[in-house]
Protein backbone atom coordinates (compact mmCIF):
# COMPACT_ATOMS: atom_id res chain seq x y z
CA UNK A 1 0.00 0.00 0.00
CA UNK A 2 2.76 2.45 0.85
CA UNK A 3 6.49 3.08 1.14
CA UNK A 4 7.27 3.69 4.80
CA UNK A 5 10.40 5.76 4.26
CA UNK A 6 10.15 8.68 6.73
CA UNK A 7 12.09 10.94 4.33
CA UNK A 8 10.08 9.99 1.26
CA UNK A 9 6.72 8.41 2.17
CA UNK A 10 4.66 7.34 -0.84
CA UNK A 11 1.39 5.60 -1.63
CA UNK A 12 1.75 2.73 -4.09
CA UNK A 13 -0.86 2.81 -6.84
CA UNK A 14 -1.08 2.08 -10.50
CA UNK A 15 -1.10 4.04 -13.72
CA UNK A 16 -2.76 2.82 -16.91
CA UNK A 17 -0.63 2.86 -20.05
CA UNK A 18 -3.72 2.86 -22.25
CA UNK A 19 -6.11 5.49 -20.81
CA UNK A 20 -3.55 7.31 -18.67
CA UNK A 21 -5.61 7.26 -15.50
CA UNK A 22 -4.19 6.54 -12.06
CA UNK A 23 -5.64 4.46 -9.26
CA UNK A 24 -4.94 3.56 -5.65
CA UNK A 25 -4.39 0.99 -4.25
CA UNK A 26 -2.72 -0.80 -7.10
CA UNK A 27 -4.96 -3.30 -8.90
CA UNK A 28 -4.28 -5.95 -11.54
CA UNK A 29 -6.12 -4.05 -14.30
CA UNK A 30 -7.20 -0.48 -14.85
CA UNK A 31 -10.49 0.11 -12.99
CA UNK A 32 -11.51 2.65 -15.65
CA UNK A 33 -10.87 1.01 -18.99
CA UNK A 34 -10.15 -2.59 -18.01
CA UNK A 35 -6.77 -2.56 -19.77
CA UNK A 36 -4.21 -5.06 -18.55
CA UNK A 37 -1.46 -2.50 -18.96
CA UNK A 38 -0.90 -0.85 -15.59
CA UNK A 39 2.48 -0.02 -14.15
CA UNK A 40 3.27 0.75 -10.55
CA UNK A 41 3.09 4.43 -9.72
CA UNK A 42 3.99 6.17 -6.47
CA UNK A 43 2.02 9.11 -5.15
CA UNK A 44 2.72 11.80 -2.60
CA UNK A 45 3.79 13.16 -0.31
CA UNK A 46 2.15 16.53 -1.05
CA UNK A 47 -1.53 16.96 -1.63
CA UNK A 48 -4.49 19.26 -1.19
CA UNK A 49 -7.51 18.60 0.97
CA UNK A 50 -10.64 18.38 -1.20
CA UNK A 51 -13.32 17.22 1.25
CA UNK A 52 -13.26 16.46 4.95
CA UNK A 53 -15.22 15.51 8.02
CA UNK A 54 -14.49 14.19 11.50
CA UNK A 55 -15.34 10.62 12.56
CA UNK A 56 -16.68 10.76 16.10
CA UNK A 57 -17.31 7.11 16.91
CA UNK A 58 -15.12 4.10 16.32
CA UNK A 59 -15.83 2.31 13.05
CA UNK A 60 -15.56 -1.50 12.83
CA UNK A 61 -12.00 -2.87 12.86
CA UNK A 62 -10.34 0.46 13.68
CA UNK A 63 -8.11 0.57 16.74
CA UNK A 64 -6.60 4.03 16.51
CA UNK A 65 -7.65 7.19 18.36
CA UNK A 66 -11.14 8.69 18.04
CA UNK A 67 -12.19 11.28 16.96
CA UNK A 68 -10.14 11.50 13.80
CA UNK A 69 -10.21 13.55 10.63
CA UNK A 70 -11.33 11.85 7.44
CA UNK A 71 -11.36 13.20 3.95
CA UNK A 72 -10.49 13.14 0.30
CA UNK A 73 -7.02 14.33 -0.67
CA UNK A 74 -6.16 15.38 -4.20
CA UNK A 75 -2.66 14.42 -5.28
CA UNK A 76 -0.72 15.92 -8.19
CA UNK A 77 -2.03 14.41 -11.40
CA UNK A 78 -5.60 14.42 -10.14
CA UNK A 79 -5.63 11.20 -8.13
CA UNK A 80 -8.16 11.42 -5.28
CA UNK A 81 -7.51 9.30 -2.20
CA UNK A 82 -9.85 8.66 0.71
CA UNK A 83 -7.74 9.00 3.84
CA UNK A 84 -7.55 9.46 7.56
CA UNK A 85 -6.34 12.95 8.53
CA UNK A 86 -3.98 13.80 11.39
CA UNK A 87 -6.14 16.79 12.35
CA UNK A 88 -9.36 15.93 14.21
CA UNK A 89 -10.64 19.48 14.78
CA UNK A 90 -13.15 20.25 12.04
CA UNK A 91 -12.59 23.99 12.34
CA UNK A 92 -8.89 23.53 11.53
CA UNK A 93 -9.70 21.96 8.16
CA UNK A 94 -10.69 23.77 4.98
CA UNK A 95 -10.93 23.00 1.26
CA UNK A 96 -7.60 23.37 -0.52
CA UNK A 97 -5.52 23.01 2.62
CA UNK A 98 -1.98 21.75 1.88
CA UNK A 99 -1.47 18.32 3.45
CA UNK A 100 1.49 15.96 3.57
CA UNK A 101 1.58 12.16 3.64
CA UNK A 102 3.01 10.39 6.68
CA UNK A 103 3.33 6.69 7.47
CA UNK A 104 2.98 6.21 11.21
CA UNK A 105 2.16 3.55 13.81
CA UNK A 106 -1.62 3.57 14.34
CA UNK A 107 -2.02 0.89 17.00
CA UNK A 108 -0.25 -2.10 18.53
CA UNK A 109 -1.44 -5.56 17.54
CA UNK A 110 -1.90 -8.68 19.73
CA UNK A 111 1.80 -9.52 19.40
CA UNK A 112 2.81 -6.03 20.57
CA UNK A 113 3.89 -5.05 17.09
CA UNK A 114 3.14 -1.55 15.84
CA UNK A 115 0.81 -1.51 12.84
CA UNK A 116 1.62 1.23 10.35
CA UNK A 117 -0.97 3.23 8.44
CA UNK A 118 -0.95 6.25 6.21
CA UNK A 119 -2.35 9.60 7.20
CA UNK A 120 -2.33 13.10 5.73
CA UNK A 121 -1.28 15.93 8.01
CA UNK A 122 -1.97 19.63 7.40
CA UNK A 123 1.32 21.36 6.57
CA UNK A 124 0.89 24.06 9.17
CA UNK A 125 0.06 21.90 12.17
Amino acid sequence: LFVADPEAPRLIGGSCQVCGKSHFPRGPVCPYCGADACVEARFGPDGRLALFTVVTSRPPGYRGPVPYGFGVVELPGGLLVVSRLAESRFDCLRPGLAVRLAIEPLFTDEEERPVLAWVFRPEAS
Binding site: G13, S22, Y32, T53, P60, F70, L80, V82, P95
Partner: protein, 376 residues
Protein backbone atom coordinates in the same frame (compact mmCIF):
# COMPACT_ATOMS: atom_id res chain seq x y z
CA UNK B 1 -42.58 -7.84 -23.74
CA UNK B 2 -46.06 -8.09 -22.19
CA UNK B 3 -47.36 -5.84 -19.38
CA UNK B 4 -46.57 -6.73 -15.76
CA UNK B 5 -49.07 -5.94 -13.00
CA UNK B 6 -48.98 -5.82 -9.22
CA UNK B 7 -51.43 -8.46 -8.02
CA UNK B 8 -50.88 -8.05 -4.30
CA UNK B 9 -48.68 -6.31 -1.74
CA UNK B 10 -47.82 -6.94 1.89
CA UNK B 11 -45.56 -5.32 4.47
CA UNK B 12 -44.23 -5.90 7.94
CA UNK B 13 -43.71 -2.57 9.71
CA UNK B 14 -40.12 -1.26 9.75
CA UNK B 15 -38.61 -0.92 13.23
CA UNK B 16 -36.93 -3.07 15.86
CA UNK B 17 -38.56 -6.39 16.78
CA UNK B 18 -36.19 -8.22 19.09
CA UNK B 19 -38.46 -11.24 19.57
CA UNK B 20 -39.15 -11.77 15.87
CA UNK B 21 -36.82 -13.69 13.55
CA UNK B 22 -36.07 -12.45 10.05
CA UNK B 23 -37.92 -15.51 8.74
CA UNK B 24 -41.01 -14.47 10.69
CA UNK B 25 -40.75 -10.90 9.37
CA UNK B 26 -40.59 -12.21 5.80
CA UNK B 27 -43.40 -14.67 6.40
CA UNK B 28 -45.68 -11.89 7.60
CA UNK B 29 -45.18 -9.80 4.47
CA UNK B 30 -45.36 -12.76 2.07
CA UNK B 31 -48.62 -14.04 3.55
CA UNK B 32 -50.22 -10.61 3.29
CA UNK B 33 -49.19 -10.19 -0.37
CA UNK B 34 -50.31 -13.68 -1.36
CA UNK B 35 -53.63 -13.22 0.43
CA UNK B 36 -54.30 -9.96 -1.36
CA UNK B 37 -53.39 -11.54 -4.69
CA UNK B 38 -55.64 -14.50 -3.89
CA UNK B 39 -52.74 -16.82 -4.55
CA UNK B 40 -51.68 -19.89 -2.63
CA UNK B 41 -49.63 -22.98 -3.18
CA UNK B 42 -49.08 -23.48 -6.90
CA UNK B 43 -50.17 -19.92 -7.63
CA UNK B 44 -46.72 -18.58 -8.45
CA UNK B 45 -43.94 -20.16 -10.44
CA UNK B 46 -40.83 -18.50 -8.98
CA UNK B 47 -39.73 -16.38 -6.04
CA UNK B 48 -36.97 -13.81 -5.56
CA UNK B 49 -35.92 -12.64 -2.11
CA UNK B 50 -33.86 -9.48 -1.57
CA UNK B 51 -31.73 -9.55 1.55
CA UNK B 52 -28.19 -8.71 2.68
CA UNK B 53 -27.64 -9.87 6.27
CA UNK B 54 -30.02 -12.86 6.49
CA UNK B 55 -27.52 -15.62 5.74
CA UNK B 56 -27.80 -18.82 3.73
CA UNK B 57 -31.03 -19.68 1.86
CA UNK B 58 -32.98 -17.00 3.72
CA UNK B 59 -35.83 -16.81 1.23
CA UNK B 60 -36.07 -20.60 1.15
CA UNK B 61 -36.65 -20.62 4.90
CA UNK B 62 -39.60 -18.24 4.55
CA UNK B 63 -41.33 -20.26 1.82
CA UNK B 64 -40.51 -23.58 3.50
CA UNK B 65 -42.18 -22.37 6.69
CA UNK B 66 -45.32 -21.62 4.66
CA UNK B 67 -45.34 -24.89 2.73
CA UNK B 68 -44.76 -22.96 -0.49
CA UNK B 69 -41.38 -24.33 -1.56
CA UNK B 70 -40.77 -26.35 -4.69
CA UNK B 71 -40.61 -23.40 -7.08
CA UNK B 72 -37.25 -21.84 -7.94
CA UNK B 73 -36.24 -19.49 -5.11
CA UNK B 74 -33.35 -17.06 -5.61
CA UNK B 75 -31.87 -14.85 -2.91
CA UNK B 76 -30.65 -11.54 -4.28
CA UNK B 77 -28.03 -9.23 -2.79
CA UNK B 78 -27.35 -5.80 -4.27
CA UNK B 79 -26.74 -3.61 -1.22
CA UNK B 80 -29.43 -1.00 -0.60
CA UNK B 81 -30.97 -1.88 -3.98
CA UNK B 82 -31.38 -5.61 -3.15
CA UNK B 83 -35.19 -5.50 -3.20
CA UNK B 84 -35.09 -3.52 -6.43
CA UNK B 85 -32.81 -6.11 -8.00
CA UNK B 86 -35.20 -8.87 -6.93
CA UNK B 87 -38.08 -6.89 -8.45
CA UNK B 88 -36.16 -6.44 -11.72
CA UNK B 89 -35.59 -10.20 -12.02
CA UNK B 90 -39.21 -11.03 -11.21
CA UNK B 91 -40.60 -8.42 -13.61
CA UNK B 92 -38.37 -9.74 -16.39
CA UNK B 93 -39.70 -13.27 -15.90
CA UNK B 94 -43.33 -12.17 -16.06
CA UNK B 95 -42.73 -9.67 -18.86
CA UNK B 96 -40.92 -12.20 -21.02
CA UNK B 97 -43.69 -14.75 -20.65
CA UNK B 98 -41.50 -17.24 -18.81
CA UNK B 99 -43.89 -17.20 -15.85
CA UNK B 100 -47.40 -15.82 -15.29
CA UNK B 101 -46.99 -15.01 -11.62
CA UNK B 102 -43.85 -14.42 -9.56
CA UNK B 103 -43.44 -13.62 -5.87
CA UNK B 104 -40.84 -11.06 -4.86
CA UNK B 105 -40.07 -10.18 -1.29
CA UNK B 106 -37.39 -8.51 0.77
CA UNK B 107 -36.54 -8.71 4.44
CA UNK B 108 -33.83 -7.67 6.84
CA UNK B 109 -32.78 -7.69 10.44
CA UNK B 110 -29.86 -5.28 10.53
CA UNK B 111 -27.21 -5.78 13.20
CA UNK B 112 -27.27 -3.19 15.97
CA UNK B 113 -24.62 -0.55 16.53
CA UNK B 114 -22.07 0.42 13.92
CA UNK B 115 -22.53 -2.22 11.30
CA UNK B 116 -19.59 -4.29 10.21
CA UNK B 117 -19.78 -4.81 6.48
CA UNK B 118 -17.76 -7.39 4.57
CA UNK B 119 -17.65 -4.75 1.83
CA UNK B 120 -14.58 -3.32 3.56
CA UNK B 121 -11.43 -5.44 3.51
CA UNK B 122 -9.58 -5.77 6.84
CA UNK B 123 -6.87 -3.31 5.81
CA UNK B 124 -9.52 -0.67 5.10
CA UNK B 125 -11.12 -1.30 8.49
CA UNK B 126 -7.74 -1.03 10.24
CA UNK B 127 -7.01 2.23 8.46
CA UNK B 128 -10.27 3.73 9.75
CA UNK B 129 -11.84 3.76 6.30
CA UNK B 130 -14.93 1.66 7.19
CA UNK B 131 -16.67 4.71 8.64
CA UNK B 132 -19.85 4.58 6.56
CA UNK B 133 -21.49 7.83 7.78
CA UNK B 134 -18.29 9.71 6.95
CA UNK B 135 -18.78 8.95 3.25
CA UNK B 136 -22.31 10.34 3.45
CA UNK B 137 -20.86 13.40 5.17
CA UNK B 138 -18.27 13.97 2.43
CA UNK B 139 -20.97 13.64 -0.20
CA UNK B 140 -23.11 16.21 1.63
CA UNK B 141 -20.12 18.52 1.98
CA UNK B 142 -19.47 18.24 -1.73
CA UNK B 143 -23.07 19.28 -2.45
CA UNK B 144 -22.53 22.28 -0.18
CA UNK B 145 -19.22 23.23 -1.81
CA UNK B 146 -20.31 22.73 -5.41
CA UNK B 147 -23.79 24.22 -5.16
CA UNK B 148 -25.73 26.46 -2.79
CA UNK B 149 -27.03 23.64 -0.56
CA UNK B 150 -26.81 24.81 3.07
CA UNK B 151 -26.88 23.11 6.45
CA UNK B 152 -30.39 24.52 6.88
CA UNK B 153 -31.45 22.80 3.63
CA UNK B 154 -30.20 19.47 4.98
CA UNK B 155 -32.32 20.03 8.08
CA UNK B 156 -35.37 20.94 5.98
CA UNK B 157 -35.21 17.63 4.10
CA UNK B 158 -35.25 15.67 7.33
CA UNK B 159 -37.98 17.88 8.77
CA UNK B 160 -40.15 17.20 5.69
CA UNK B 161 -39.68 13.44 5.73
CA UNK B 162 -40.32 13.18 9.46
CA UNK B 163 -43.49 15.25 9.00
CA UNK B 164 -44.63 12.87 6.25
CA UNK B 165 -43.79 9.84 8.38
CA UNK B 166 -46.27 10.83 11.10
CA UNK B 167 -49.07 9.47 8.89
CA UNK B 168 -47.34 6.15 8.12
CA UNK B 169 -48.29 3.31 10.49
CA UNK B 170 -45.43 1.19 9.08
CA UNK B 171 -42.70 3.74 9.87
CA UNK B 172 -40.27 3.43 12.80
CA UNK B 173 -40.40 7.12 13.73
CA UNK B 174 -43.78 8.84 13.65
CA UNK B 175 -42.99 12.14 15.26
CA UNK B 176 -42.66 15.53 13.61
CA UNK B 177 -39.25 17.06 14.31
CA UNK B 178 -38.45 20.74 13.74
CA UNK B 179 -35.45 21.89 11.73
CA UNK B 180 -34.07 23.48 14.89
CA UNK B 181 -34.24 20.16 16.76
CA UNK B 182 -32.54 18.44 13.84
CA UNK B 183 -29.74 21.03 13.78
CA UNK B 184 -29.34 20.70 17.56
CA UNK B 185 -29.02 16.89 17.48
CA UNK B 186 -25.50 15.47 17.99
CA UNK B 187 -23.00 15.82 15.16
CA UNK B 188 -22.21 12.37 13.76
CA UNK B 189 -19.85 13.50 11.00
CA UNK B 190 -19.83 17.16 9.96
CA UNK B 191 -22.09 18.40 8.41
CA UNK B 192 -24.48 15.56 9.24
CA UNK B 193 -26.41 15.57 12.52
CA UNK B 194 -27.91 12.42 14.01
CA UNK B 195 -31.43 13.36 12.88
CA UNK B 196 -30.24 13.80 9.28
CA UNK B 197 -29.33 10.09 9.05
CA UNK B 198 -31.65 7.11 8.69
CA UNK B 199 -31.49 4.21 11.14
CA UNK B 200 -30.65 0.70 9.94
CA UNK B 201 -33.45 -1.51 11.27
CA UNK B 202 -35.74 -4.48 10.55
CA UNK B 203 -38.72 -5.15 8.36
CA UNK B 204 -40.09 -6.94 5.31
CA UNK B 205 -42.17 -6.25 2.22
CA UNK B 206 -43.61 -8.46 -0.51
CA UNK B 207 -45.16 -8.02 -3.94
CA UNK B 208 -46.86 -10.52 -6.26
CA UNK B 209 -46.32 -9.73 -9.94
CA UNK B 210 -48.76 -11.08 -12.51
CA UNK B 211 -49.37 -11.00 -16.25
CA UNK B 212 -53.08 -10.52 -15.52
CA UNK B 213 -54.52 -7.17 -14.31
CA UNK B 214 -56.82 -7.33 -11.29
CA UNK B 215 -58.82 -4.77 -9.28
CA UNK B 216 -57.37 -1.29 -9.80
CA UNK B 217 -54.54 -2.41 -12.06
CA UNK B 218 -51.12 -1.05 -11.11
CA UNK B 219 -48.62 -1.71 -13.83
CA UNK B 220 -44.87 -2.12 -13.38
CA UNK B 221 -43.98 -0.04 -16.42
CA UNK B 222 -40.20 -0.34 -15.98
CA UNK B 223 -37.57 -1.62 -13.59
CA UNK B 224 -34.01 -0.59 -14.40
CA UNK B 225 -30.95 -1.71 -12.49
CA UNK B 226 -27.47 -0.32 -13.07
CA UNK B 227 -24.06 -0.50 -11.40
CA UNK B 228 -21.40 2.18 -11.31
CA UNK B 229 -18.83 3.08 -13.91
CA UNK B 230 -15.22 3.75 -12.93
CA UNK B 231 -14.59 7.07 -11.24
CA UNK B 232 -16.76 9.22 -8.99
CA UNK B 233 -14.70 8.84 -5.83
CA UNK B 234 -17.66 9.70 -3.64
CA UNK B 235 -20.12 7.43 -5.36
CA UNK B 236 -21.75 4.71 -3.31
CA UNK B 237 -19.00 2.35 -4.41
CA UNK B 238 -16.44 4.23 -2.35
CA UNK B 239 -13.92 3.13 -1.23
CA UNK B 240 -13.38 0.93 -4.25
CA UNK B 241 -11.73 3.65 -6.22
CA UNK B 242 -9.54 6.19 -4.52
CA UNK B 243 -9.58 7.07 -8.16
CA UNK B 244 -9.74 10.16 -10.28
CA UNK B 245 -13.14 11.80 -10.30
CA UNK B 246 -13.64 12.38 -13.98
CA UNK B 247 -17.22 13.06 -14.99
CA UNK B 248 -19.15 9.85 -15.42
CA UNK B 249 -22.90 9.37 -14.98
CA UNK B 250 -23.85 8.03 -11.55
CA UNK B 251 -25.68 4.67 -11.30
CA UNK B 252 -28.91 6.50 -10.44
CA UNK B 253 -28.66 8.67 -13.56
CA UNK B 254 -28.13 5.61 -15.76
CA UNK B 255 -30.97 3.63 -14.15
CA UNK B 256 -33.31 6.64 -14.36
CA UNK B 257 -32.55 7.14 -18.04
CA UNK B 258 -33.25 3.46 -18.75
CA UNK B 259 -36.46 3.48 -16.71
CA UNK B 260 -37.84 6.69 -18.21
CA UNK B 261 -37.16 5.38 -21.71
CA UNK B 262 -38.68 1.94 -21.07
CA UNK B 263 -41.79 3.42 -19.44
CA UNK B 264 -42.12 6.22 -21.99
CA UNK B 265 -42.30 8.90 -19.31
CA UNK B 266 -40.21 11.89 -18.21
CA UNK B 267 -39.77 13.49 -14.78
CA UNK B 268 -42.53 15.98 -15.71
CA UNK B 269 -45.02 13.08 -15.91
CA UNK B 270 -44.39 11.85 -12.36
CA UNK B 271 -47.05 12.33 -9.67
CA UNK B 272 -45.32 10.78 -6.67
CA UNK B 273 -41.77 9.60 -5.88
CA UNK B 274 -40.17 7.44 -3.20
CA UNK B 275 -36.41 7.92 -3.33
CA UNK B 276 -33.28 6.93 -1.42
CA UNK B 277 -32.77 9.25 1.56
CA UNK B 278 -30.12 7.42 3.57
CA UNK B 279 -29.24 10.90 4.77
CA UNK B 280 -30.58 14.37 3.98
CA UNK B 281 -27.86 15.02 1.43
CA UNK B 282 -28.67 11.80 -0.38
CA UNK B 283 -32.28 12.95 -0.92
CA UNK B 284 -31.07 16.16 -2.58
CA UNK B 285 -28.56 14.27 -4.72
CA UNK B 286 -31.20 11.65 -5.62
CA UNK B 287 -33.62 14.38 -6.70
CA UNK B 288 -30.93 15.89 -8.94
CA UNK B 289 -29.84 12.55 -10.39
CA UNK B 290 -33.45 11.54 -11.12
CA UNK B 291 -34.03 14.85 -12.90
CA UNK B 292 -36.66 16.07 -10.42
CA UNK B 293 -34.76 19.35 -10.27
CA UNK B 294 -31.83 20.76 -12.24
CA UNK B 295 -28.27 19.59 -11.48
CA UNK B 296 -26.95 21.92 -8.83
CA UNK B 297 -30.49 23.13 -8.16
CA UNK B 298 -31.18 20.85 -5.21
CA UNK B 299 -30.80 23.56 -2.60
CA UNK B 300 -33.24 25.81 -4.39
CA UNK B 301 -35.61 22.85 -4.82
CA UNK B 302 -35.63 22.25 -1.07
CA UNK B 303 -36.09 25.93 -0.20
CA UNK B 304 -39.01 26.17 -2.66
CA UNK B 305 -40.77 23.34 -0.84
CA UNK B 306 -39.86 20.68 -3.41
CA UNK B 307 -41.08 17.23 -2.45
CA UNK B 308 -43.56 18.45 0.19
CA UNK B 309 -47.05 17.00 0.32
CA UNK B 310 -49.05 19.50 -1.70
CA UNK B 311 -46.08 20.40 -3.92
CA UNK B 312 -46.22 19.66 -7.66
CA UNK B 313 -44.37 16.39 -7.01
CA UNK B 314 -44.46 14.95 -3.47
CA UNK B 315 -41.28 13.02 -2.60
CA UNK B 316 -41.26 10.34 0.09
CA UNK B 317 -44.88 10.64 1.25
CA UNK B 318 -44.17 7.51 3.32
CA UNK B 319 -41.67 9.53 5.36
CA UNK B 320 -38.74 7.99 3.49
CA UNK B 321 -35.98 6.01 5.10
CA UNK B 322 -35.44 8.90 7.52
CA UNK B 323 -38.81 8.03 9.12
CA UNK B 324 -39.12 4.36 8.26
CA UNK B 325 -35.54 3.28 8.90
CA UNK B 326 -33.66 1.15 6.39
CA UNK B 327 -33.92 -2.64 6.40
CA UNK B 328 -31.68 -3.11 3.34
CA UNK B 329 -33.40 -6.00 1.56
CA UNK B 330 -36.89 -4.69 2.31
CA UNK B 331 -36.54 -0.96 1.66
CA UNK B 332 -37.01 -0.98 -2.13
CA UNK B 333 -40.06 -3.23 -1.94
CA UNK B 334 -41.45 -1.10 0.89
CA UNK B 335 -41.43 1.72 -1.67
CA UNK B 336 -43.29 -0.46 -4.18
CA UNK B 337 -45.93 -1.29 -1.55
CA UNK B 338 -46.37 2.41 -0.71
CA UNK B 339 -46.58 3.45 -4.35
CA UNK B 340 -49.05 0.67 -5.18
CA UNK B 341 -51.30 2.06 -2.45
CA UNK B 342 -50.78 5.57 -3.81
CA UNK B 343 -51.81 4.51 -7.32
CA UNK B 344 -54.83 2.61 -6.01
CA UNK B 345 -55.89 5.69 -4.04
CA UNK B 346 -55.52 3.66 -0.85
CA UNK B 347 -52.74 5.55 0.95
CA UNK B 348 -55.05 7.09 3.56
CA UNK B 349 -53.68 10.34 5.00
CA UNK B 350 -50.55 10.04 2.87
CA UNK B 351 -52.53 9.98 -0.37
CA UNK B 352 -51.26 12.10 -3.25
CA UNK B 353 -54.52 13.02 -4.98
CA UNK B 354 -55.01 11.48 -8.41
CA UNK B 355 -51.57 9.89 -8.61
CA UNK B 356 -51.16 7.94 -11.88
CA UNK B 357 -47.38 7.74 -12.43
CA UNK B 358 -44.99 6.84 -9.61
CA UNK B 359 -41.25 6.33 -9.34
CA UNK B 360 -39.26 4.29 -6.80
CA UNK B 361 -35.51 4.69 -6.37
CA UNK B 362 -32.86 2.92 -4.33
CA UNK B 363 -29.09 3.23 -4.52
CA UNK B 364 -26.33 1.85 -2.39
CA UNK B 365 -23.18 -0.09 -1.95
CA UNK B 366 -21.81 -1.91 -4.92
CA UNK B 367 -22.67 0.54 -6.34
CA UNK B 368 -26.15 -0.39 -7.46
CA UNK B 369 -29.08 1.78 -8.35
CA UNK B 370 -32.62 0.66 -9.11
CA UNK B 371 -35.33 2.86 -10.59
CA UNK B 372 -38.86 1.50 -11.06
CA UNK B 373 -41.81 3.25 -12.68
CA UNK B 374 -45.35 2.20 -11.73
CA UNK B 375 -48.46 3.43 -13.55
CA UNK B 376 -52.20 3.10 -13.31
Amino acid sequence: VRPVYVAGVGIHAFGRFSDTSVTALGTHAVRAALKEAGVGRGGFQAAFCGTVYSGVAAGHKVLTSLGLSGVPIVNVEAGCASGGAALALAAAQVGSGQHDRVLVFGMEKMPRGIIRSSFFEPWREEAGLAATPAYFALRAQRLMLESDVTLADLARVSEKNHRHGVANPYAMYRKAISADEILASPVVCEPLRLLMLCSPNEGAAAVVLSATPTGTPVRVAAVALRSHLGGSVLGEHTPMSGAADHPVPAPTEMAARDAYEAAGVSPADLDVVELQDTDSGREILSAEELGLCPKGGGGRWVRDGGGEMGARLPVNPSGGLLSKGEPLGASALGQIVELTWQLRGAADQRQVAGARVALAHTVGRGANACVAVLTR
